[in-house]
Symmetry: C2
Subunit: 314 residues, 2 copies
């Protein structure tokens, strides 16, 4: 399947989803004379993350005869799928853990999705989602391990390069790898000499370990505050793409993530969630030259935002 994720697939996705997603702005910040950061603010998408790109592309490429879509997600993927299904007028079911914030549940419901609450065990949620898919003829939309989902996410890099031109370096977070895989195939074609840097939390470094081992590795359940990056192993379909194209993976601590969230509030006037600020944290630490930085999402818990803002210097 690997060779199927390519620039043409991403270009097709871009054309397909254009009416449904925001062409997010590329903000510029020069931390030094030698460095220009070109920041793609995906936090400004409706539902607050790049996930709307992949979800929309998947909903727009469903096989005929499908009655709707289903996903298990407590986070940005579930929100995005609910919105994409609403935009296209098809039913959606989102399976969420019992401990998911009430706000996320009510937002998915406000977009017309049916929310099914199932314990806090992710395997149980996966099973329930599969059962619902089978019983009701719904299409299960995975958060990353799907070529159309990954191609949709890659449209963010396509838009970035259209505005930035060739880059020296590109930073994006890596969780299951859908976003990064989609971006990799775009960057390798349109900015071939660009160094592609994946960013993971210190305790969710499955892709870094996998690259070192040459095969997929799994880490214990991460506790990083970057709740969107706690996937424990690279995706089956995304891994070969990452293995081929990723230059390296850099790790970030919780303290660096919080500092990057605060930096974004003050200097960029953007609300980012910790996962969404991971690439920024590394770009601020080491970036040189023309650096593309994918700011992936802005759905931060209000209590965490309050803590970060209160702790920052006045």
């Amino acid at each position: 399947m690997h060779s199927d994720l390519d620039l043409e697939r991403v270009r097709s996705a871009a054309q397909r989803i254009a009416p449904h997603v925001l062409r997010t702005p590329v903000l510029r910040h020069a931390p030094s004379a030698a460095t220009q950061l070109l920041l793609k603010a995906e936090s400004l998408q409706p539902t607050g993350s790049f996930k709307l790109r992949g979800a929309s592309n998947r909903v727009l490429t469903l096989p005929p005869g499908v009655a709707g879509v289903v996903a298990h997600s407590s986070g940005n993927h579930g929100q995005a799928l609910a919105r994409a299904a609403k935009l296209l007028g098809i039913p959606a079911v989102v399976v969420m853990p019992a401990d998911a914030p009430a706000l996320k549940r009510s937002r998915a419901q406000a977009d017309g999705a049916e929310v099914v609450v199932v314990g806090s065990d992710s395997q149980q949620r996966e099973r329930v989602a599969a059962e619902i898919a089978a019983e009701r003829g719904l299409f299960p939309v995975p958060p990353f391990d799907d070529l159309e989902v990954a191609a949709g996410q890659g449209t963010a890099a396509l838009e970035l390069l259209e505005e930035s031109g060739p880059l020296d370096r590109f930073y994006a977070p890596v969780s299951g790898g859908g976003l990064m895989a989609g971006c990799c195939v775009v960057l390798r074609e349109l900015s071939p000499s660009c160094e592609i840097v994946g960013v993971e939390p210190e305790d969710a470094n499955d892709t870094q370990l996998s690259l070192a081992a040459g095969e997929r590795r799994t880490v214990p359940p991460p506790r990083s505050i970057a709740d969107g990056l706690r996937v424990r192993t690279p995706g089956r379909l995304t891994w070969p793409v990452l293995k081929q194209h990723l230059s390296r993976v850099e790790l970030v601590s919780d303290a660096e993530l919080e500092a990057a969230v605060l930096f974004a509030l003050r200097e960029l006037r953007l609300v980012l969630e910790p996962s969404g600020a991971a690439s920024l944290a590394v770009a601020l630490r080491e970036g040189r030259g023309r650096c593309g930085v994918l700011l992936s999402g802005g759905n931060i818990e209000p209590a965490l935002l309050a803590r970060i803002v209160a702790a920052g210097p006045r």
Copy 2:
């Protein structure tokens, strides 16, 4: 001079400043089925406000032989002029009050401006700025009462309409009136039936009083938290434009401004300053139909942001 501020002048400004400003995104939010808010996020401009548009246009239309620019401003205009002068490679002097936040001073200096600190009396600052202009051959750039400045600000409405099409209603803050005057001449030509609603703080309602009186009125020094909207009387050049085109002015309280700042953080993932959230506050209160909403800036004091976030529901 009134007839000189027209759509053609704004179109010329748009072409002139395009390489130097951000084409800010138009975010969409539907608070009800009957209402679509189309939110022009000028808070994302470099230096954090629409002011870069007018400052850039003024710097790009200086008379020949000018050695540089000077402004008296403790706020967004000074930051914008410093950046515009840097972008165009000319010297800038910004006269600031002694009580201006250190951050604003250091930002103007980081953009290469010379900062002159003069007491906290605004008339004294004005006099010092005029003296510096005369002595050094610098061009004094006023914050609003200048046709090229106002034309530059109007480019925000031009971009908004290019994406939104005709609007039922348009909301923007009114301080000296440069932004609103520039927007008015665009809206009247390109969306003629659009209701144009100015927004002022309750105690900075000089434009509302002036409209009622049919001539310029002055209010006592306002104390609103919207520090960008504390101008006490409409501009000499902007007033005739506002008088001709403004449909009405609505007022906002400090509590409404704080609620709108919190709403923007949570629902739009944008950091807005109180002045920048004024139009949003009124649009959320009364908006119906297709409403353009100009979010003018995002330079909120860190301590105020912390207070608003801490007070909000978790």
